[in-house]
């Protein structure tokens, strides 16, 4: 056996495009712990086929396995948006041993609150897709293109669909799964003590979110209507039939039977432009946010070196962290921050950047170009504020190597490394039975 590698923690960000895939490797006291946080890409922002990334991750795991099968100690799916989990649908994962899968409790089929929320979110997503698509087909029949609002609404709604294939793999359902024995764990637990895990001596993971507070749950409630239209929030809600003629045919008159002033008024009113597209978009964006706010939000502490992974938690979902003095203290000293929600304007609170987080850390930006959001994501003000607080932003599209700390492999990944002081060698016990731990 060669000399033990120095203790260190690395975060490798794979360049999927607009999506997240982070491989975290902790080496401490001779033990190694590997965690994959998300693996997915948005369908409108793919840098490469997601299978290429899956294969790259697996190849890296194989290279690191010393001749054994590729192995992950834990896989995290922060929330069920496609840009975070779509890659798990790939069959290539069947060759990878995964000991644990961590999911937010909203994915727990046995949790009543979660089931209600999940069903409502799924129905809202389906209903929105249906509304957007029926409107698009009405437009198409007239030879008209869908508006930008409508297309964006469609993107959100599709992204929020449950992504069943990927979830099957994560939950070990329908014959899908990983190699080896896998424990599926849902977080946070009701008992606060159960939300701190110790995968290796001196290494802890603290689950900070999503909140189970009933008031906070409201932030995960799906929209009940899309502008002028009610959304059917459970599958058995009857849909209203389409409206046929409003009045008897005798009341309909021809253009030339109507005074000219009315015809002029009609033309200037542009009634065909009166649409509910803004309403559909508003609801779809709200749905997008409520799913983001189900994100598993956690802090990794390796012998005092802290890394923060908020998933895509947006504004509201940070409040219970930043408003809790103990948790606020935890996030203060992070040296690494996975930038939430691809650098959008309301996923990294001003309070976090301006006040809560100490200066001089590293922040990784999982981002790829989506033309429609080119001007808004990442948000310039946020990037500027991070830079103003002396944080280094690591991104695939603007590579700036920092010897021993930040490195890149072409366009495939970026990596951040922190070397740690040595610690004693330890044995890492592994669970070996298939259980679902709730």
């Amino acid at each position: 056996m060669s000399a033990p590698e120095p203790d260190r923690v690395t975060v490798r960000m794979y360049h999927v495009g607009f999506g997240d895939a982070f491989l975290v490797t902790v080496r401490r006291g001779g033990g190694t712990w590997r965690l994959l946080v998300d693996c997915g890409v948005h369908r409108s922002g793919q840098a490469r086929p997601i299978v290429d990334v899956v294969n790259a991750i697996i190849a890296d795991l194989v290279a690191d396995a010393g001749g054994g099968p590729p192995h992950l100690d834990a896989v995290v799916a922060t929330h069920h948006h496609a840009d975070h989990i779509s890659g798990y649908a790939r069959p290539e994962w069947e060759q990878v041993e995964v000991d644990e899968v961590w999911l937010p409790y909203v994915e727990d089929a046995e949790d009543a609150d979660a089931t209600m929320l999940r069903t409502a979110q799924a129905s809202a997503a389906k209903e929105l897709v249906r509304l957007v698509e029926s409107r698009t087909s009405v437009l198409a029949a007239d030879g008209a293109e869908p508006s930008a609002k409508l297309m964006l609404a469609h993107d959100f709604a599709i992204n929020a669909l449950t992504n069943d294939d990927a979830l099957d793999r994560l939950l070990g359902r329908n014959g899908r799964g990983f190699a080896g024995d896998t424990v599926v764990r849902f977080f946070p637990k009701h008992d606060a003590a159960d939300n701190t895990l110790t995968p290796l001596p001196g290494v802890t993971v603290t689950i900070l979110g999503p909140s189970r507070d009933p008031d906070e749950l409201r932030r995960m409630d799906p929209p009940t209507s899309a502008g002028w239209q009610r959304l059917a929030l459970s599958a058995d809600t009857a849909m209203s039939p389409a409206i046929g003629d409003l009045f008897g045919l005798a009341y309909a008159v021809k253009d030339h039977d109507v005074p000219e002033a009315l015809r002029t008024a009609r033309d200037s009113l542009e009634l065909a432009e009166v649409t509910n597209d803004a309403g559909l978009l508003g609801a779809a964006a709200l749905l997008d946010r409520v799913v983001n706010n189900t994100s598993l939000f956690f802090l990794l502490d390796v012998a005092g070196t802290r890394l923060l992974f908020p998933g895509d938690a947006q504004q509201g979902a940070w409040e219970h962290v930043l408003n809790d003095p103990a948790k606020r203290l935890l996030v203060r000293d992070c040296v690494f921050y996975k930038i939430g929600h691809h650098g959008s304007g309301n996923a990294t609170p001003r309070d976090f950047v301006e006040a809560a987080w100490a200066d001089g850390g590293h922040a990784m930006l999982p981002w790829g170009l989506v033309k429609a959001w080119e001007d808004t994501i990442p948000q310039e003000n946020l990037m500027a504020a991070l830079t103003a607080h002396h944080h280094t932003i690591i991104r695939n599209d603007e590579q700036e190597p920092e010897p021993g700390v930040v490195s890149y492999q072409g366009d495939m990944w970026s990596e951040w490394t922190m070397v740690l002081p040595p610690a004693g060698e330890v044995d890492v016990p592994r669970p070996r039975q298939v259980t679902v731990d709730r």
Partner: protein
């Protein structure tokens, strides 16, 4: 009348009013009660549509590419039966109903405002009764139109309707009155369509609900029935409260208001205004406070009648009330409702040009009323202020709730329009407005039409009247000359956003002329310079100036911003108005910016689009969910 037309001695004079039938107050409640209403509107000659002076009903169904036959309300047989019988199946009666309710609301505003009401640029308001399929109806400022939707009652929870039945929002008197009020408020204060603080849209909502609600008290037959049905409980006003609770019942509108009224009915203490953040709730809180003041005033007004009717005991006998007593109480109920609503509507001229709050509305109400009725003999104002105090709605920064503290401040030094700093013909403005009031005479040469023509930014240059342009320039120059005293910036461009003269009847029964100027400035220098100039939330300041007939400024209602060049303050005394305005402007700027980021944070679309989130708060989104977009907190 032009000199070459010979008067016809046998001509029949035009009638003063036209009566039109509507549902009471929508098809569902009419089905339950069997009741219809007859709405009185000022008579005007109408073209089929109907198309009149102020509104045009455009019944084109774009989804079906169909015109529905426009109703001719001037047909003899239609006139002879007070319009068509309201029917859900006859689109012509839909047209009649939107026309009738819209006109009666406009007519009420005109009477309350003390001046003729005109839409900007003499445009008419368009009412589109079957504009789209959807559970909404809204005023669209860009189209200068109210668009009404229709939808099917839910299959599993249709309420008192048939499952799947088509519900027309254009048949609800409440919705029509509410939306037309939005249009009128927009006409009077255009910048209130910009959600610059949590109160702006709440205020729009409150005024629209208030007018629609008090419109229920405009129909003697309805009020009489409500009173007669509550014989034992006359003093508590229970029947009137029931009437108010019918508001918007079947159409799903006014839920916040109904729940606030239910609390009132149950004798619960209202939630303090300051804790309410959602615009509908804030609006409802204000409306209920006004309604409570109304009930108090009504009870006071009928106390003597009850004593007379009961030989002094105040205890009514069992059974039906004497019809004469019901008649007299009905008269008082209607009269009091009218005075209460009048007091609120009259406040409009005393509202700021931009960025209003409920506190501003309270100050406007008190100032307007006090200027006309210094003694408040009927104690209406006192009751309203007390009721608003109970609900927690009062302006910030006032020392007490005494009249003196609540009225807008008077200028500390004399400023006069028409002084050496300006070439403004104040007498000409007054004379023209006076002439406009005589409906038999020709319109004044500076009538509201020409005032407004050049005030509209959409106006093509060739159409601007030279006289109007000159007047506007002169007033803007005058405002910039006195900018420091008016809460404006001398170095920013001042636009005249409104100019009118009103004549209101005072306590002494004499008309009080008043000139009202709305001065506005856009302060691009204070906007977020990192954003595209076309896609920034605007920073505006503005001042409403009230002038006496001699041109002397009597009230300054300012919403200032900090001066671009604060060296202008050098040498001014510590307590000079300019320093106060500047300090207040600094506070206001911080509040505007904080609100912009609150709105942005609350709106899930902020992450995705460069359009300012504040712009997505509009009339169409106001009545349509999703909540969460509007529920932005304070």
């Amino acid at each position: 009348m032009p000199a070459d037309v010979k008067p016809d001695p046998l001509a029949v004079p035009l009638p003063g009013s036209r009566w039109l039938r509507t549902f009471a107050f929508d098809p569902m409640s009419t089905r339950l009660s069997g009741r219809h209403l007859r709405v009185e509107v000022p008579f005007e000659t109408l073209a089929p549509g109907p198309m009149g002076r102020s509104v045009h009903v455009v019944d084109y169904d774009d989804a079906r590419r169909t015109w529905y036959q426009p109703v001719d309300l001037d047909l003899g047989i239609v006139l002879a039966q007070d319009g068509l019988r309201p029917s859900e199946n006859d689109p012509r009666s839909h047209q009649q109903i939107v026309y009738a309710v819209a006109m009666s609301v406009i007519d009420r505003f005109e009477r309350f405002m003390g001046r003729r009401f005109r839409w900007r640029q003499e445009q008419v308001l368009r009412l589109v009764p079957h504009a789209f399929e959807g559970r909404n109806a809204y005023f669209d400022p860009r189209r200068q139109a109210v668009l009404f939707g229709y939808y099917t009652a839910e299959l599993d929870d249709p309420g008192a309707n048939l499952p799947g039945q088509v519900i027309f929002t254009c048949l609800s008197n409440d919705i029509i009155a509410h939306e037309v009020t939005h249009a009128i408020v927009h006409r009077l204060r255009r910048r209130y369509a910009e959600a610059t603080n949590p109160d702006v849209f709440a205020l729009h909502e409150a005024l629209a609900d208030l007018v629609a609600l008090f419109h229920h008290f405009n129909y003697p037959e309805v009020v009489r029935e409500a009173i007669a049905s509550t014989s034992g409980d006359l003093r508590s006003g229970g029947g009137l409260l029931d009437l108010a609770r019918e508001f918007g019942e079947s159409t799903g509108r006014g839920a916040a208001l109904r729940s606030a009224l239910a609390q009132e009915h149950a004798g619960e203490k209202p939630r303090p205004f300051a804790t309410l953040t959602e615009p509908h709730e804030r609006g409802a809180s204000f409306v209920v406070a006004v309604f409570r003041a109304y009930l108090d005033s009504y009870q006071h007004a009928i106390a003597d009648l009850l004593r007379i009717a009961t030989g002094g005991s105040g205890v009514l006998p069992q059974g039906a009330l004497h019809p004469d007593l019901v008649d007299r109480v009905t008269t008082e109920a209607i009269h009091t409702a009218d005075r209460m609503l009048r007091m609120v509507v009259r406040a409009f001229d005393y509202l700021p040009v931009v960025d209003p709050s409920f506190g501003d509305l309270v100050r406007g109400i008190v100032t307007a009323d006090r200027d006309l009725y210094p003694d408040d003999a009927a104690h209406l104002r006192g009751r309203l202020v007390e009721s608003l105090r109970v609900s927690g709605t009062y302006p910030s920064g006032v020392g007490s709730l005494a009249d003196d503290a609540l009225t807008w401040p008077v200028p500390e030094k004399e400023i006069r329009l028409g002084d050496e700093a300006s070439d403004v013909d104040v007498r000409g403005i007054l004379a023209s407005a006076t002439q406009d009031l005589d409906i038999g005479a020709d319109a004044g040469d500076m009538g509201s039409a020409s005032f407004e023509t050049w005030l509209s930014p959409q106006q093509a240059p060739g159409e601007v009247s030279a006289q109007g342009e000159k007047l506007g320039q002169a007033i803007s120059e005058w405002a910039n000359h006195h900018a420091l005293d008016l809460g404006l910036d001398p170095e920013a461009i001042t636009t005249l956003a409104g100019l009118h003269v009103s004549f209101r009847i005072g306590e002494d029964q004499q008309p009080r002329p008043e000139i009202v100027l709305q001065l506005a400035q856009r302060r691009a220098d204070l906007e977020d310079q990192s954003l595209d100039p076309q896609k920034r939330p605007r920073m505006r300041s503005g001042t409403t100036v009230i002038l006496r007939a001699d041109g002397v400024v009597s009230r300054i209602i300012a919403k200032p911003l900090p001066l671009r060049d604060d060296s202008l303050l050098n040498g001014l005394p510590k307590h000079s108005p300019a320093r106060r305005f500047d300090a207040w402007g600094t506070e206001r700027l911080a509040a505007l910016r904080a609100w912009q980021s609150t709105v942005a944070d609350a709106d899930p679309l902020t992450a995705w689009t460069a359009e300012p989130a504040q712009w997505r708060l509009n009339f169409a989104s106001l009545h349509a969910e999703p909540a969460g977009v509007l529920d932005v907190g304070a």
